[in-house]
Structures are given as C-alpha cells and as structure tokens.
C-alpha cells in the first residue's frame, strides 16, 4: 500500500489530553465514539430496568406493583430510552470510532460539530427522564400514558411532562441531524485517495444511507411534535377535530418518521454484519454491489410505506392496498441481503467467535421477525393482530436481533481494536447464549399471547394468558440480567487481557486493521492510498 501525505501540523496535538477536559472539549472521533457508547450503555440499563418492571408486573394477572398510568408511563419511557437513548447513540458511537479509520481519514470532517452532537444528548436524556419523574411531584400533572407514538388527543391532554418529552425529542432530533450531517460530509469528502464510493467499506455505506434517512425524516417528527406543542399551549387545532383539525394527521407525521426509523436502527447493524460474516467465514462479502443496491432500495421503499402502521384508521381501499404491496415489496431487498450473508458463509472456513455467533443469530432471528412482519403487512390479517402482543413480539424480533445484536457483534468485533486487549472469549460466548436464550424465552411466547387476543399496553390481563406471561417474565429476567455480564466483559477488556494484534482477527480486512491496537490518538495522519 503506497501512501500520500496530507496537510498536518506535525508539531502539535499528538498526545491525548488528560482529565475531564479531554472528554468535555473533545474533538477526537475516538473519544467522542467512546462517549456515545458509554452513554448508550447507561441508557440501555435504564431502559432495561423499565422493561424488567413491566415484565414483573405482567408476571401474573391483576395489578401488583404499578398503577395503570405508571405502567403506561414505563412503556412509553422504555421505548423512547431504548430507541433514542440506547440504540441510536450506540450506532453513532460505532460510526464515530470506525468511519475515519475505515476510510483513511484523520478524524471526522467537522470535529467541533461532533462534540456538539454528543453533548446535546445528556441534556436531552435529562429532559426525557424528567418527563418520567415530573408527575411524581406535587403539581406535576398526569403521567405520559400515550406510548412512544404520542398520539393526540391523549398527548394534548397529558400534563406538563409531555412538554419535557417534546423538548427532549427536539434535542434528540437536533443531535441526530448534526451527527448525520457530519457523517455524510466525512464520507463524501474525507475518503483516502483512490477509495471510490463503490470501494467504501459496507459499514460506511450503511451509515451514509442511514444519515440521509435521518436528515429526511427527523425534521418531519420535529414538525409534528412542534404542532403538538402549539395545540397544547397556543390555541391551534392541527390535531383537534373540534377546531377543524384531525388527530390522524399526527399519525401520518409520526409514522413518516417512525417507519424509516426502523431502518435507521437496522442498517448500521447490517453494516457490522457485512464485516463480521466475511471475517469469520474467511471469504469476501458475497455481492457487494447488490448489497449497496438492496440497501438503497430498502431506504427508498421504506420512506413511502409508513401507513402500514395505521391500517385500522379507516383509509380508502386504494390506499391500504398501496401500503400493503409496498410493505411486502421491502422483503425482496431485505431477503437479498440475507441471501448474500448466507452465500458469504457458504463453503467458508467458518469459526464461531462471539461476534460471529451474534451474526448467525441475527440471520436466523431477524429473518423470523421479518416473516411475522409480512404477516402484519397483510391488511385483513393485521386487523386481527393490531395492538396485540403479537406486534410486541414482532418488533422485538426485528429490533433486538436486527439492531441490538448487530451492535453487540460490532462491539465484540472491534473491542480488541479499541482497547488493545482481547476480551474473554469464554465469557463472550456465555453472554451470547444467556442473552439469546433469554430473549427467545421472553418474546417467543408473546406471539401466542397476541394470537390468542391479549392486547398490548394494558397492565392487567385475563387469567387464560397467565402461563405464557409467566414464561415470558422469567425469560425477561434472564435476558435483562445477562447484560451485566456484557458490562463485566467490557470492563475486563478495558482493564487488561491478552494483547491484541493490529489485525485482531485472522480473516479481517480493511484499513482499520492496518492501525495499531489501540490506534494512535489521531488515526490517519498520513492518508493511505487505495489501489
């Protein structure tokens, strides 16, 4: 590999700063990546705690620990914390850490903006948590019992905690858009000489598409919640039927954001898989060009099928038919991606280290979640499943394997590169199995509960649903507690362990593995030239 020099002040800034200033004022992509990941981990435990409380309440019929409003408040917070606080920041953390190293850049294109994107997040998280806490204080108003979808008219009637939530969503949106702008500029302008777009690592491609998706849909959500704020306090009637508005308009605005958001969560993990599977199959990725095409197709079609979340609102036959066909069409490019992953593994010299275990788990379980998605896409069937526990099972099978397990695979895959130490492989495998078994015990029974008619977002249930709920709750405790092991493995790898080589995995390819483990404070001070 030949090299070419970039302008760089050799005399300055070669050591990592120390103390709190290193983190607060950081413009270094690796430090900001670490901050994102630590933030996401913290929020994952908070969101996980709310999920465990929900499952404890549902352990048996009747009302045990919570009251109905608090239960729904927990449901709302669990979703918002996990989506905006855990998964998106974790994916942004991987992007910050890996994108400059993968494309041969010294840092992100806009380092100060990078700092701002991250430090908005703790403020947003504080607002988000306050929206949960405020109703417990005198005069704090009612709890947010709307679910993460925030549908009016209920969201117009909720107390002041909803205002905290609206501002939290604004801040989270600003952070996401700024981070997306930075990622797009980095990927388009900072690639090493010779690295054309079609030579770019797949993780970078997935993030390029994700960042464009975010810029397109997050402002629409911001617009929607701003209109909600106006309806609540400034006498407008965007969503108030009595004033000439319509609450269904909010649903359209919300899901125009909400459905592409699913792909925002999924695509970075697909990017991780596109590196993990070839590495541990010791083969190049099968069908790079078709992967890029499939991803673009998923993003494009995913933008125009939002109303499949709203079949029951009474749309015209033409509209529901369009949304149904469009939704089912998405399974074609997604199926192509899964096919490419399987084709990459086919006749490869496969080994099953922890990242690969997660990757294979994703291919199996995400496909399962996708299949129940096809069931939900069919209008007459969806009329039966709508708002039942079947939907809860479906989207957890999509988002846990599709997004979260992909992030776990990425963390285990790149942890040696980040820390300079190999993690404890035995513990990694124990974590995988407890996590996956716990996940399946939790969510598989919920398919049956939904098909039998158990509604979601309701604190109590009929005694006929008891057995599956008991199983699901036991699974949730195993699943939730297993994440403590993840924390232990990460801390152990940071503190020490077997030294990692530059190329930590035998089959790994890509520029990031040319750098030392851990990499120098400034990644590529001299840009590599790609042939």
């Amino acid at each position: 590999m030949t090299t070419t020099t970039m302008t760089h002040d050799e005399a300055h800034h070669h050591g990592a700063p120390t103390g709190w200033r290193r983190w607060l004022f950081s413009t270094n992509h690796k430090d900001i990546g670490t901050l994102y990941l630590l933030f996401a981990l913290t929020m994952m435990f908070l969101g996980g705690a709310s999920a465990m409380l929900i499952r404890m309440e549902l352990f048996q019929p009747g009302i045990q620990l919570l009251d109905p409003d608090l239960y729904n408040n927990l449901v709302t917070n669990h979703a918002l914390i996990m989506i905006f606080g855990a998964v998106m920041p974790a994916a942004a953390g991987l992007a910050n850490w890996m994108i400059p190293m993968m494309i041969g850049a010294p840092d992100m294109a806009l380092p100060r903006l990078n700092n701002l994107s991250f430090w908005i997040l703790p403020a947003a998280a504080t607002m988000l948590l306050l929206s949960f806490v405020v109703p417990f204080f005198p005069g704090g108003g009612t709890q947010i019992n709307t679910g993460w979808t925030l549908y009016p008219p209920l969201s117009v009637q909720v107390g002041m905690s909803m205002d905290f939530l609206i501002f939290a969503i604004h801040l989270l949106g600003i952070s996401s858009v700024l981070a997306s702008i930075n990622i797009i500029v980095t990927l388009l302008n900072m690639r090493a000489p010779g690295m054309t777009l079609m030579k770019m690592p797949m993780f970078c491609w997935t993030w390029l598409v994700t960042a464009f998706l975010l810029i397109l849909v997050v402002p629409v959500l911001a617009g929607g919640v701003t209109m909600l704020l106006f309806d609540r306090h400034f006498g407008t009637s965007f969503f108030d039927a009595a004033g000439g508005g319509d609450p269904v308009l909010f649903q359209h605005l919300f899901w125009f954001f909400g459905h592409p958001e699913v792909y925002v969560l999924l695509l970075p993990s697909i990017g991780v898989l596109s590196h993990v599977i070839p590495t541990f199959s010791r083969k190049p990725l099968f069908g790079y060009n078709s992967m890029v095409g499939a991803m673009l197709a998923v993003a494009t079609i995913g933008m125009v099928v939002w109303a499949h979340h709203q079949y029951t609102i009474g749309m015209s036959l033409g509209a529901v038919t369009y949304f149904m066909i469009g939704t089912i069409l998405i399974s074609i490019p997604v199926g192509l991606m899964i096919f490419n992953f399987i084709a990459t593994m086919w006749r490869g010299s496969m080994t099953f280290e922890t990242p690969m275990l997660f990757a294979v788990g994703i291919v199996l379980m995400f496909t399962f979640g996708g299949l129940s998605g096809v069931m939900l896409a069919v209008v007459p069937a969806d009329m039966q499943y709508h708002d039942s526990m079947f939907v809860v099972a479906h989207f957890h099978y999509v988002l846990m394997p599709g997004a979260v397990f992909g992030l776990f695979a990425g963390v285990f895959y790149w942890l040696p590169k980040w820390t300079g130490h190999m993690y404890d492989e035995r513990l990694g495998k124990i974590f995988f199995w407890t996590n996956v078994i716990g996940f399946n015990i939790t969510f598989f029974p919920q398919h049956f509960l939904g098909l039998a008619g158990m509604p979601r977002r309701i604190i109590d249930y009929n005694v006929m649903f008891t057995e599956f709920n008991v199983v699901s709750s036991i699974g949730a405790m195993i699943f939730g507690l297993s994440h403590l092991l993840l924390l232990y493995i990460v801390i152990k790898a940071i503190r020490g362990g077997k030294k990692a080589r530059s190329r930590s995995w035998e089959g790994a390819t890509g520029l990031e593995w040319e750098l030392s483990s851990p990499p120098p404070f400034h990644s590529w001070t001299v840009a590599p030239k790609i042939k």
């Binding site: 300055h12 800034h13 010294p106 903006l113 402002p219 509209a319």
Partner: protein, 50 residues
C-alpha cells in the same frame, strides 16, 4: 482544546460548504413538512370522503 490541523484550507472549505448545504436541506424538510402534510392530508381525506 484546539483542533488538529488535519485539513487543508480547501478541504475545510469544501466540508463547510457541504455542511451548510445539508443543514439547509434539513431546514427545508422541517419547514415544508407543515404545509405539505396538511395539504396532502386534505387531498387524501377528500378522496376518501368523495
């Protein structure tokens, strides 16, 4: 803390230009979402009723 001088002035200018372009695009999506969605909603609603 100062930012490492890892970008040539031309590259920095190019980065900032693209940043503002994308920022303007995001702002346009935000501002046009209000009339766009209300108008589109009315059209779809009228069709469903008519």
């Amino acid at each position: 803390m100062a930012i490492p001088e890892n970008q040539s002035p031309e590259l920095r200018k190019k980065n900032l230009r693209l940043m503002w372009l994308l920022f303007g695009f995001a702002l346009m999506v935000l501002l046009t979402s209000f009339p766009f969605w209300i108008g589109m909603f009315r059209i779809v609603g009228d069709q469903a009723l008519g």
